[in-house]
């Protein structure tokens, strides 16, 4: 009996060790890659992206997917077995590794080429204290308002140029018997996030960029003037049930991916939808959505300026890759990812995204809508990352939940902000 038990335990041990044995062979080119991408979502696009590199060098890229990226990364770095390259959410999340020198600087890249092809914005975002550590092969732009040109034409509406124009248009749409915006905040445990993007976009347009950055670091309070004003401005649309498709109840109950669909019903239930460039793939899933032609049946305009002084900054996100190895093969991969060809594979595999490398030819985008989003990204007055993603997880959570409460009860804004402030106070203290 005991022998069997011992045998079973030994077998378990052997099995658990076995996969690691493969890593021991150093002579082959094997690059380990740690990412949150898994299964059908984005991992195939990544494979398409690196296919030319794999073909040329014969290297194998071993992908390790995890939902819990930071803890897994922490464990592996602490154990002296870091991945060669990792996609991380932000530099903030890996601050300790940067301090301890675990992250490899990208000094092997041609600085002149990088500066020329990526420009100041991305070089700054990829650098810590003047040293380049991160590369961004792909970005997304969130400051987009989607609409249906045929519906606009039929109703005689024009694309608003300013926030006040947009409010006037909303009033007109309401008077004509429809809803202005369709917003959907249902996203299971992450419910509320689309509203946080709204507040961030508005914050960028009603306060200086310094205030936005200070907000991320909790150097200004949630109950302070700038943040409160951003929420109140959001309330001019989101706090007015007349402007929302399905009112407040419909807004909190509708899954975010479905909320773009009322733009394409006949007659339209709503005329506007604010969402990042990825919403294109959701439009195709709407009833009759496959027949909709990008650029003809649906299009977007840049989220309009609110206060001329602050212009129209772009809000968005980008994939950040960092290296934990100075192996020449890994460096070659990093160099490949900064080339304009890299994004091509991603797009060819069916992924969406905007090139950060300005050498990427505009006519290589699969449709005119993506192309225009890419053009816009080059044109925005400045670019900022999604603030909530850079905040501590607790604060991000409270931000999501608070926005749900705000839609249900706009009058309780002061309480909502005081609550987030209390949570932030604690979260940043640690």
């Amino acid at each position: 009996m005991r022998k069997i038990l011992v045998f079973v335990l030994m077998l378990g041990l052997v099995l658990s060790i076995a996969p690691n044995a493969a890593l021991a062979q150093d002579d082959e080119c094997v690059i380990s890659f740690l990412t949150v991408w898994s299964g059908e979502a984005e991992l195939p696009f990544w494979e398409g992206m690196v296919a030319p590199f794999v073909e040329e060098t014969g290297c194998t890229i071993e992908v390790e997917s995890t939902r819990d990226l930071v803890p897994v990364l922490t464990t592996r770095v602490e154990a002296g077995n870091p991945p060669d390259i990792a996609g991380v959410p932000s530099f903030g999340a890996i601050a300790t590794f940067l301090e301890e020198g675990d992250v490899a600087p990208l000094d092997f890249l041609d600085v002149d080429r990088m500066n020329e092809q990526f420009g100041e914005v991305w070089m700054d975002l990829g650098s810590v204290d003047g040293t380049l550590y991160g590369i961004f092969p792909r970005a997304s732009l969130k400051s987009l308002v989607w609409y249906s040109p045929p519906a606009f034409e039929a109703a005689g509406y024009t694309v608003p140029e300013t926030w006040d124009d947009m409010l006037a248009l909303c009033q007109q749409i309401y008077d004509d018997g429809a809803a202005c915006f369709s917003i959907g905040l249902e996203a299971q445990a992450a419910s509320g996030w689309p509203a946080t993007d709204w507040v961030e976009d508005i914050m960028l347009r009603t306060a200086p960029l310094e205030a936005y950055d200070a907000w991320i670091d909790h150097e200004i309070e949630w109950t302070g003037e700038e943040v409160t004003r951003a929420w109140e401005t959001f309330g001019e649309i989101a706090g007015n049930e007349d402007f929302l498709f399905g009112g407040a109840a419909g807004t909190v109950a509708t899954p975010f991916g479905e909320s773009v669909c009322p733009l394409f019903t006949d007659p339209p239930g709503a005329y506007l939808h604010r969402q990042a460039d990825f919403i294109q793939s959701f439009i195709a899933d709407c009833p009759g959505g496959e027949a909709l032609v990008p650029g003809e049946d649906f299009d977007f305009f840049l989220f309009p300026s609110i206060n001329e002084e602050f212009g129209t900054p772009g809000l968005g996100g980008a994939d950040l890759f960092v290296l934990f190895s100075d192996d020449p093969n890994v460096q070659a991969l990093a160099d490949f990812l900064t080339q304009p060809e890299a994004l091509q594979g991603w797009l060819d595999a069916g992924g969406s995204g905007i090139a950060t490398n300005n050498q990427f030819p505009l006519d290589s985008y699969p449709d005119p809508v993506s192309r225009r989003a890419a053009e816009l990204l080059q044109q925005v007055d400045s670019f900022r990352f999604d603030a909530s993603d850079l905040m501590p997880g607790d604060v991000n959570q409270a931000f999501w939940t608070g926005s749900l409460d705000f839609i249900q009860n706009p009058g309780s804004l002061a309480d909502i902000l005081a609550n987030i402030e209390a949570i932030a106070d604690e979260a940043y203290a640690e």
Binding site: M1, R2, L5, D68, V70, P71, D164, Q171, D175, D176, G177, A178, A179, Q188, A189, S191, G192, D242, F245, G246, G247, A249, G250, T251, V252, A253, T254, P262, G269, A270, P392, G393, D394, V395, N396, Q397, T401, L404, Q408, N419, A422, E426, A427, E430
Partner: protein, 489 residues
């Protein structure tokens, strides 16, 4: 040989179980207790800080309140219904079938049940009154099908200060004007023939009357064919009010602020342009004034504040507007649009959502209570009940005086099991609301502290320990009761 066997035998058989139990239960529990005294990384000792957080944070207090609600409503619901069904189904012919059906939800995972009920409670945004009222959620579909055309509503009504409907000739005329124009446009566009249009025009006054007094549905098909009824008519009402000759301006602003505001803005903005064109105001000052129009209109609507400063007096259109609107004879006018029975957002409306979630729990667990109680019920000797009946007790008396007392030990065991289930409820809440909208519970909070935000090992562990400590006494009580019950057999 025999002695040796009896010495090692139990150890060999117990060993793996004890080992696994220690590895998977005892060790993690002890480690959790340890972590609950350390910071979020499990590195530095922080004393009772995590416990202080666990009892004082607002989300946790909400969780405690909700768990208490679960504890009472869920426990009473499952045990009460279980007992009722067990007693009612006891001697019917299709007892097995009935009990199998009620027991069936037990076979569904809680996450699955959450998903199923999310569909039952689903709310489709209805959008505007004219849009289809289709609901895919079972409950809302039933609700809405009771009033498919929205005819149970009152339609548009004008109400005075006391909420009593008022007759408003100007409004009726406005509706007739708008609809007449729509019908004529339809004729021009060849959507309607002349004779069809004349028929409609003839019944138009009656329609407007019926519409105003609520006897006609707001989404009547004849009108839908013509476009934006009733919203266009609401617009017409607003326009009519805005141009009414004499009355109380503030009252109108109180009743329909957005109309009042846009009217003032429009009037004022035009007046400024006129003044600039006439040369009474400089172009620069004109631009300045234009920038302030919205703020000025808002201030008036909200507080009745009149604008001050150079230019406003010059423009001098302000008092004109107020005089115009002041002449409305009806005071405190109000419009309402009632489109009948509306679907309900069951899991996101505070006040009902906790009960909606508890019902899911009851749906799952009632079958379990029923089976256990039914088994105990079968164990009651028939003679006992026969004797009671012979003595003249009727069925209700038999149930409360004989059956319930005999079942009491079993009911206690089932009840404590349900209390434990109520305290550790997680899946249903996580799947259906993720603890938002005031439905937070302790176990969900624990999960989010751990995985949702900052990976707060300390907070999550402290919450886990509190949950464990609150369950242990009930568990011990449960086991003692169970043993006592077994011993009695």
């Amino acid at each position: 040989m025999k002695a040796q066997e009896s010495k090692w035998g139990p150890a060999v058989f117990l060993g793996p179980a004890v080992f696994l139990l220690f590895l998977l239960m005892v060790y993690p529990a002890l480690e959790t207790v340890r972590l609950s005294f350390f910071d979020r990384f499990g590195e530095n000792f922080v004393g009772l800080d995590n416990y202080e957080y666990a009892v004082s944070s607002s989300r946790m207090q909400e969780a405690f309140r909700n768990n208490l609600l679960w504890l009472f409503v869920f426990t009473i619901g499952t045990v009460g219904l279980g007992l009722l069904i067990a007693a009612l189904a006891d001697r019917v012919r299709y007892e097995t079938l009935a009990k199998s059906i009620i027991f069936m939800p037990m076979a569904i995972s809680f996450v699955g049940a959450g998903v199923i009920w999310k569909f039952v409670y689903d709310l489709r945004p209805t959008g505007e009154p004219l849009q289809p009222r289709e609901q895919i959620g079972l409950l809302n579909a039933i609700l809405v099908s009771a009033d498919p055309d929205g005819t149970l509503g009152d339609g548009i009504r004008l109400l005075n200060e006391e909420g009593i409907p008022i007759d408003a000739p100007a409004v009726r005329q406005a509706i007739i004007d708008v609809e007449t124009a729509a019908i004529e446009t339809a004729v021009t566009d060849e959507e309607l023939s002349r004779s069809e249009a004349d028929e409609l025009l003839e019944i138009l006054p009656d329609r407007a009357n019926g519409y105003l007094n609520g006897s006609l549905p707001p989404n009547d098909e004849d009108w839908q064919a013509l476009g934006q009824w009733p919203r266009a008519s609401l617009g017409a009402i607003n326009a009519a009010i805005a141009t009414m000759p004499e009355g109380s301006g503030r009252a109108v602003c109180n009743a329909i602020p957005h109309v009042c505001m846009s009217e003032i803005e429009r009037f004022e903005s035009n007046a400024i342009d006129e003044a600039v064109d006439a040369g009474t105001v400089s172009a620069e000052r004109g631009d300045e004034l234009q920038d302030q129009v919205r703020a000025v209109a808002l201030a008036y609507v909200q507080n009745g504040t009149r604008p001050e400063g150079e230019g406003w007096q010059t423009v001098d259109h302000w008092d004109q507007i107020i005089t115009d609107v002041n002449q409305v004879t009806i005071r405190g006018i109000n419009t309402t649009l009632d489109t009948g029975i509306q679907p309900i957002d069951w899991i996101r409306t505070r006040g009902i959502n906790n009960f909606a979630l508890i019902i899911v729990g009851v749906w799952i667990w009632t079958g379990f209570c029923m089976v256990v109680l039914s088994a105990a019920l079968k164990g009651i000797p028939g003679e006992l009940i026969e004797a009671a009946r012979v003595d003249g007790a009727h069925e209700v008396q038999v149930f409360f005086r004989i059956i319930i007392p005999i079942l009491m030990p079993t009911i206690t065991v089932v009840m404590t099991t349900m209390v434990i289930n109520a305290l550790k409820v997680f899946d249903i809440v996580y799947v259906m609301t993720a603890g938002n909208f005031g439905t937070e519970v302790i176990a969900n909070r624990m999960y989010f502290e751990m995985y949702g935000g900052n990976r707060e090992f300390g907070h999550a562990s402290a919450i886990a320990v509190i949950l464990m400590l609150s369950i242990v006494p009930i568990m011990v009580f449960n086991i003692v009761q169970f043993r006592r019950q077994e011993a009695r057999r």
